[in-house]
């Protein structure tokens, strides 16, 4: 494509956008609304992901040792666990300390001594640790379980699994929304291009008569679809950029533990994704409509 052609295609596309004013407005708005909804769902999923990651990072992993493990073995085990890459803080909780934690009420402590007899404590040694990153959690749990002195490992897996299930559900929901909205916008872009093609059918017929290749005819429409997508994405990105801090502030007031600040980098990445989605929508809508230009000759 030469420079003269490029200028011609771009000016044709811009003229077209201007002439089809209302249709351009409808298409750009539709793409903008679809991308805005897609962006909102993506943000919600990102929020959930970040919440889960924090949940995992802040989770305290507790390894319950086999009852009767000697204290020197416990110290050796602590050294061994401290050497793990996945671990940050390691503390040993003696059976006595565990009992004190468990039965904070002095009446309860007394009852325990009466029930079990003086000097008996059924609680085992436990080693508590923090995981360095949420990604390391599973590996750490596996390593701990492999140790012969460790009887069981606990990290609040039930609550975590529930949140993870919720997060998966949100991802599937987002994907479904993205696909459905994508198809709906594709249909609208397709119809707009069909209408503009119909408005310009004489031009297309003449182009074919004087020997324009199909791609020469398609280019202005493809550029038009590209601009539709880009404009729609730009509107969605601006609304998201303005709206996100506001919504997050509201969310923080309502559910403090759930709200998060996605950060500038994540927002820029999201904007780029939305722009790409917009452009893909616009261009594929146009191309879909311009598959068979040969039918135009039949109108001559």
């Amino acid at each position: 494509m030469g420079f003269d052609n490029l200028v011609f295609f771009a000016s044709e596309a811009l003229t077209n956008l201007r002439r089809a004013g209302v249709m351009t407005f409808v298409t750009v708005s539709t793409i903008a609304v679809a991308l805005l909804l897609m962006g909102t769902f993506l943000l919600a999923s990102m929020n959930m992901e970040s919440f889960l990651a924090r949940l995992q990072e802040e989770a305290m992993v507790t390894a319950f040792l086999v009852p009767g493990t000697a204290s020197d073995r416990v110290s050796a085990l602590k050294m061994q666990i401290t050497a793990f890459d996945e671990v940050t803080e390691v503390t040993v909780v003696t059976p006595e300390a565990a009992a004190r934690e468990l039965f904070t009420d002095p009446a309860d402590q007394k009852l325990l001594q009466v029930g079990l007899g003086e000097g008996t404590n059924p609680l085992p040694y436990t080693i508590r640790m923090k995981v360095r990153s949420s990604h390391d959690l599973q590996a750490l749990v596996d390593k701990l379980k492999a140790l012969p002195q460790v009887e069981s490992v606990s990290y609040g897996e039930e609550a975590f699994r529930q949140f993870q299930g919720l997060s998966h559900l949100l991802w599937i929901g987002s994907l479904l929304v993205i696909v459905l909205l994508g198809l709906a916008s594709l249909f609208i872009v397709y119809n707009t291009v069909r209408l503009t093609l119909f408005m310009r059918r004489e031009e297309v017929i003449i182009m074919r008569l004087v020997g324009a290749t199909n791609w020469f005819i398609r280019w202005p429409f493809v550029i038009e679809g590209f601009l539709h997508g880009l404009l729609g994405a730009a509107v969605a990105v601006v609304v998201l950029a303005v709206g996100t801090p506001f919504i997050m502030a509201r969310l923080a007031a309502l559910v403090p533990f759930f709200a998060f600040d996605p950060g500038a980098v994540a927002l820029v990445k999201l904007s780029v994704k939305l722009c790409l989605m917009g452009v893909v929508l616009g261009v594929s809508g146009s191309l879909l409509c311009l598959r068979d230009l040969n039918a135009f000759g039949r109108e001559m």
Binding site: G2, D4, E203, L209, G211, G297, M300
Partner: protein
């Protein structure tokens, strides 16, 4: 038999009309046993064979529905014959791949009855369209448009819009657009159908000038005054068959 030859890079050669034909070219258009049956069963052409030499001027006559338009549409590959072979400028255009059709049309000028001008573009832009779509450079476009508009006598109206022109002038713009890329063949379907006798004569005069520069001209018409006055080759079609092919003929197909 048609012999293939190439005019080379016409876009960058001085625009001097179709130019003299090499001596070895015997036919610009050749139809061999061409039949066209439409999906609805209408037999528009029935075993048509003919040969039109380069530089010829041919009137195509016949009643409405005789197959004239189908004949012309086959020449620019808008229709594909059901049977038979069509050779244009040495190329078998029936077997031509779809992607080559635009390149065939760049060597043809096509003028139809309804003027088919772009109303939102000026006269000059309409004429330039024929060159722009084939990727000609801006300076080539400007020079050729000016020259062609002078040829059809409309250079002073180059900035006007089609609606500001008379019917005859609009048709001359169409002719300018058809010949701006210096075609080998000019195909015209009832170009004077909507015009008064005086203007019709002017239009045909223009075709004669274009023909004199070497372009083969094929004109489908119902205008018997023109046909009888000019005494060019006349091909008469009736019910899809050639019933007369006469050099220096008159308008008659009964």
């Amino acid at each position: 038999m048609a012999v293939c030859f190439s005019r080379g890079s016409w876009l960058y050669s001085p625009p001097t009309g179709a130019g003299p034909r090499p001596f070895f070219v015997t036919a610009m258009i050749e139809l061999r046993n061409v039949t066209k049956i439409y999906p609805n069963g209408v037999r528009a052409l029935n075993n048509v064979s003919l040969s039109i030499p380069a530089g010829d001027f041919v009137f195509l006559v016949g009643p409405s529905g005789a197959g004239k338009s189908t004949f012309l549409r086959i020449l620019f590959r808008e229709e594909i014959p059901t049977e038979g072979q069509v050779v244009v400028d040495g190329k078998d255009i029936v077997r031509m791949p779809e992607g080559r059709v635009p390149y065939l049309r760049r060597n043809l000028g096509i003028v139809l009855q309804d003027f088919q001008l772009l109303k939102r573009r000026t006269v000059a832009e309409n004429v330039a369209f024929g060159l722009r779509v084939i990727g000609a450079a801006e300076n080539v476009i400007n020079a050729r448009v000016q020259e062609t508009l002078e040829q059809v006598g409309l250079s002073h109206k180059r900035r006007m819009f089609p609606d500001e022109l008379s019917g005859g002038e609009q048709q001359r713009v169409c002719i300018a657009r058809a010949v701006v890329n210096n075609p080998l063949i000019l195909i015209t379907d009832e170009p004077t159908g909507n015009l008064d006798p005086m203007i019709s004569l002017e239009i045909v005069q223009l075709f004669l000038e274009i023909n004199a520069r070497g372009t083969t001209v094929i004109m489908a018409t119902h205008n018997h005054h023109l046909v009888n006055k000019l005494r060019k080759r006349v091909i008469a079609l009736v019910e899809g068959r050639i019933i007369k092919d006469e050099p220096g003929g008159t308008y008659a197909y009964e």
